[in-house]
C-alpha cells in the first residue's frame, strides 16, 4: 500500500467500498430492514455481530482513507465516501432490498483490489 498522499480514484474506491460494506451491515442489524430482507427479526447475537462488523467497516474505511490519502484529505474523503455509500444502501434497501447482502459481500473483494492499487 502506498503511504504517500494520493487521493487517486482507487483510494476513493477503497474508502467507498469499505464504507458501503460497513453501512450495509449496520443497516441489516436494524430490525426493520432485517425483516424486509430476511423475512424475520435478527437474533440478538446476529444483530450485535452485524453492528460490530459495521462499525469495524466504518473504522477500516477511516484508516484506509487516512493511510492512502493522508491526514490532510483522508477525513474529507471518508466523509464523502460515507455519504455516497449510505445513499447507495438507502437506494438498495428501498428499491432492491434483496441486493443489499450480495452487494455488501461484493464490496469486500472490490476493496481488496482497490487497496492493492491505491
Amino acid at each position: 500500500m502506498n503511504l504517500a498522499p494520493s487521493m487517486t480514484p482507487s483510494s476513493v474506491l477503497l474508502t467507498l467500498a469499505l464504507s458501503f460494506a460497513g453501512l450495509s451491515a449496520l443497516c441489516l442489524a436494524m430490525d426493520r430492514h432485517h425483516r424486509a430482507i430476511f423475512l424475520g427479526s435478527p437474533s440478538r447475537r446476529r444483530a450485535r455481530a452485524l453492528r460490530v462488523a459495521g462499525w469495524c467497516g466504518i473504522g477500516a474505511a477511516f484508516a484506509a482513507a487516512v493511510i492512502t490519502a493522508d491526514w490532510n484529505f483522508g477525513p474529507v474523503q471518508w466523509f464523502g465516501s460515507l455519504t455516497g455509500a449510505a445513499l447507495l444502501v438507502v437506494g438498495l434497501v428501498s428499491y432492491r432490498p434483496r441486493w443489499v447482502r450480495p452487494a455488501a459481500l461484493v464490496a469486500l473483494p472490490v476493496a481488496a483490489v482497490a487497496a492493492f492499487l491505491a
Binding site: 498522499p5 487521493m7 487517486t8 480514484p9 483510494s11 476513493v12 474506491l13 467507498l16 453501512l23 449496520l26 443497516c27 436494524m30 426493520r32 430492514h33 490532510n72 484529505f73 474529507v76 474523503q77 466523509f79 464523502g80 465516501s81 460515507l82 455519504t83 455516497g84 449510505a86 445513499l87 444502501v89 438507502v90 434497501v93 428501498s94
Partner: protein, 497 residues
C-alpha cells in the same frame, strides 16, 4: 423547535436552492467553460512566452495602467486573459487573447462556467447586494440545519429509511430526512465555510476599525499579498518577463497561474509571479516578487500566518480545488443531495398544508406552490436554455455574453410565470418533461453546431443523465397514485404539492 426549522427553511429555501444548484455545477466550472468555448483548443505555450505576449498587448492598449495582470493559459482554460487598472478608483478592465498569437481572441464571447459561479454567490445582482442576500440566507440556513438536527428525533433509527409506498407526506419527509442526514457533514461544512468566504462582506467592521482606510494592508500582514510599492515617478524600461518567470519557476514547483506587473514602465515597477495552490486543503498561492528593472527578488510569499491559514483552509474546503476526479464526484453528489434536501423541504411545506378535498387553497399556499415549481424546475430550465443559447446565438452577436445570461433569465422567467399561473400536478409533470427535453437537446445541438465531435463526452453524458433524471421524476409524479389504502384520499401526490 420545529417551527423554527420550518420557517427558517421556508424563507431561505428558494434562494438557497439556487445557490446550491449553481454551486454544485461550479465543481465542474472549468469543464463547463471548455464546452462553452468550442473554438478554443489547448495550445502548448511556454508560460514565459505567454506572459510576454500578454504584456505586449497591455503595453499598446494600457500603457498608463497602474497594474497589469496576465492570467496564463491553463489546461482547463487555454486562453490568455489580461486585466488592468487605469487607476485604483476605476473598475478593472479585461481582454481575452489568443494564447498562440497574443491578439484578441476570436472565440465566441461567453462567461462560460463563470456565469454560474458568480450567480452562486452574487445571484447576478450588484455584487454587494447579491452577496448580502446570499450571506444572510446562508446564516438562516445554518439555523435551519441546526434546528433540523434537534427536531429530527429519529436520526439513527430512520437513518436508512425511505418509505416510498406510504402516504405522499411520509415519502417527502423521508426523502428530506435521508438527503439531509446522509450528507449532513457536507451540509454543515459547505454552509459554514460559505458564510466564512463572505465574512468580510457581512462583517466589515473589524477590518475597517483596525486598518482605517488601508484595508489592503490586512492581506499584506496576513501573508496573502505582497506590500504595494509606490511608483517612483521616473520612467524606466522593465526587464523581459520570460527570464524572471523562469527564475520563479525554478523556486516553485506548482504551475504558474498569473504574472502581475505593478506600476509598469516606472522605475519602481515590480513583477509578481503567482503560482497555483500547492496540493493541500488551503487555498493559498505561492508568490515571488521581483524588482522589474534590476531583477532582484524583493520578497517570497508562501507560508501563511495561522489565522490566515485557517481562513484559506475553509475557503479551500468550500471550493474543493484539491479534489481529484473521484472525490469531485462525491462532492458533486453531496451538492445534489443538498439541493434535494432543500427542494424536498419546500415541497413538504406545501404537501403538509394541503387543504381538505374540495377546499380551495389559500393565497399563501398558492404562492409557495408557485414559487416551489418556479424555482425547483425553473432554474434547471434556465440553465439548460443557457447552454443551448451558447450554441445557438450567432458568434458575432453584439454583447453576446450578456445575451446568454438574458436567455437564462428569460427562460427561467417564463417557467416561473407558467408555474404561478397554474401550479398543480400537471404543471409539475409538463415542466419536468420540458426541462428534461431541454437538457437532452444540449448534446444534440452541441454536436450539430460544432466540429468537436466526441471531445466533450463527459459533459454530454452529464446532460443526458440530468435529462433522464428529470424525465424519470416527471414520470414518477404522473404515475404516483398513493398507496392502495389511501388512494381515495390522495388521488395524486403532487396535486397537493
Amino acid at each position: 423547535m420545529a417551527w423554527l426549522h420550518t420557517w427558517a427553511g421556508l424563507v431561505t429555501g428558494w434562494v438557497m436552492f439556487c445557490v446550491f444548484v449553481t454551486g454544485t455545477a461550479t465543481y465542474y466550472r472549468s469543464d463547463i467553460s471548455l464546452w462553452m468555448r468550442p473554438e478554443v483548443r489547448a495550445a502548448a505555450v511556454e508560460p514565459g512566452v505567454a506572459a510576454e505576449r500578454g504584456a505586449a498587448y497591455l503595453k499598446v492598449h494600457a500603457p498608463k495602467a497602474v497594474a497589469w495582470f496576465v492570467s496564463l493559459p491553463q489546461e482547463e482554460r487555454p486562453l490568455l486573459d489580461v486585466y488592468w487598472f487605469d487607476s485604483f478608483d476605476t473598475p478593472i478592465k479585461q481582454a481575452t487573447l489568443d494564447a498562440g498569437t497574443g491578439q484578441l481572441s476570436t472565440a465566441r464571447a461567453t462567461q462560460g462556467g463563470d456565469f454560474l459561479y458568480r450567480f452562486h454567490f452574487e445571484l447576478q445582482m450588484m455584487p454587494l447586494v447579491g452577496r448580502w442576500i446570499v450571506g444572510a440566507s446562508a446564516l438562516i440556513l445554518l439555523v435551519a440545519l441546526v434546528s433540523g438536527i434537534v427536531t429530527h428525533r429519529r436520526i439513527f433509527s430512520d437513518f436508512f429509511t425511505f418509505r416510498r409506498d406510504k402516504s405522499a407526506q411520509r415519502g417527502w419527509l423521508d426523502a428530506h430526512n435521508v438527503t439531509g442526514v446522509l450528507a449532513l457533514p457536507f451540509h454543515l461544512m459547505i454552509t459554514y465555510t460559505g458564510i466564512v468566504t463572505l465574512a468580510f462582506t457581512l462583517m466589515p467592521w473589524g477590518i475597517a476599525s483596525a486598518y482605517r482606510g488601508d484595508e489592503l494592508r490586512l492581506f499584506v500582514e496576513s501573508g496573502q499579498s505582497p506590500a504595494w510599492r509606490a511608483a517612483a515617478g521616473r520612467p524606466a524600461e522593465g526587464l523581459p518577463l520570460a527570464p524572471l518567470v523562469a527564475r520563479a519557476q525554478g523556486e516553485v514547483s506548482e504551475p504558474l497561474e498569473m504574472v502581475i506587473v505593478n506600476n509598469p514602465g516606472d522605475a519602481a515597477a515590480t513583477v509578481v509571479a503567482v503560482f497555483e495552490e500547492p496540493k493541500g486543503l488551503a487555498h493559498r498561492h505561492p508568490q515571488v516578487v521581483f524588482d522589474a528593472t534590476s531583477g532582484d527578488v524583493i520578497t517570497r510569499l508562501g507560508t501563511l500566518k495561522p489565522a490566515a491559514h485557517v481562513f484559506t483552509s475553509f475557503l479551500g474546503l468550500h471550493e474543493a480545488h484539491f479534489a481529484g476526479p473521484a472525490l469531485r464526484v462525491l462532492f458533486f453528489l453531496c451538492g445534489v443531495m443538498g439541493s434535494a434536501t432543500i427542494a424536498t423541504g419546500l415541497v413538504l411545506w406545501a404537501v403538509a398544508r394541503a387543504p381538505k378535498a374540495g377546499a380551495a387553497p389559500g393565497f399563501g399556499l398558492r404562492l409557495v406552490r408557485g414559487l416551489n415549481l418556479g424555482t425547483i424546475l425553473g432554474l434547471p430550465i434556465g440553465i439548460a436554455a443557457f447552454f443551448l443559447a451558447n450554441r445557438l446565438l450567432p458568434v458575432e452577436l453584439d454583447a453576446r455574453a450578456t445575451w446568454e445570461g438574458g436567455v437564462f433569465f428569460g427562460a427561467w422567467g417564463v417557467a416561473a410565470l407558467v408555474s404561478l399561473a397554474r401550479p398543480h400536478a400537471r404543471t409539475w409533470r409538463e415542466m419536468g418533461m420540458a426541462a428534461a427535453l431541454l437538457f437532452l437537446a444540449v448534446p444534440v445541438v452541441g454536436a450539430l453546431t460544432t466540429d468537436r465531435g466526441l471531445d466533450f463526452l463527459g459533459f454530454d453524458a452529464a446532460m443526458v443523465a440530468i435529462g433522464l433524471l428529470l424525465a424519470w421524476g416527471a414520470r414518477k409524479v404522473s404515475r404516483y397514485r398513493g398507496p392502495a389504502r389511501a388512494r381515495a384520499a390522495v388521488p395524486d401526490a403532487l396535486a397537493r404539492a
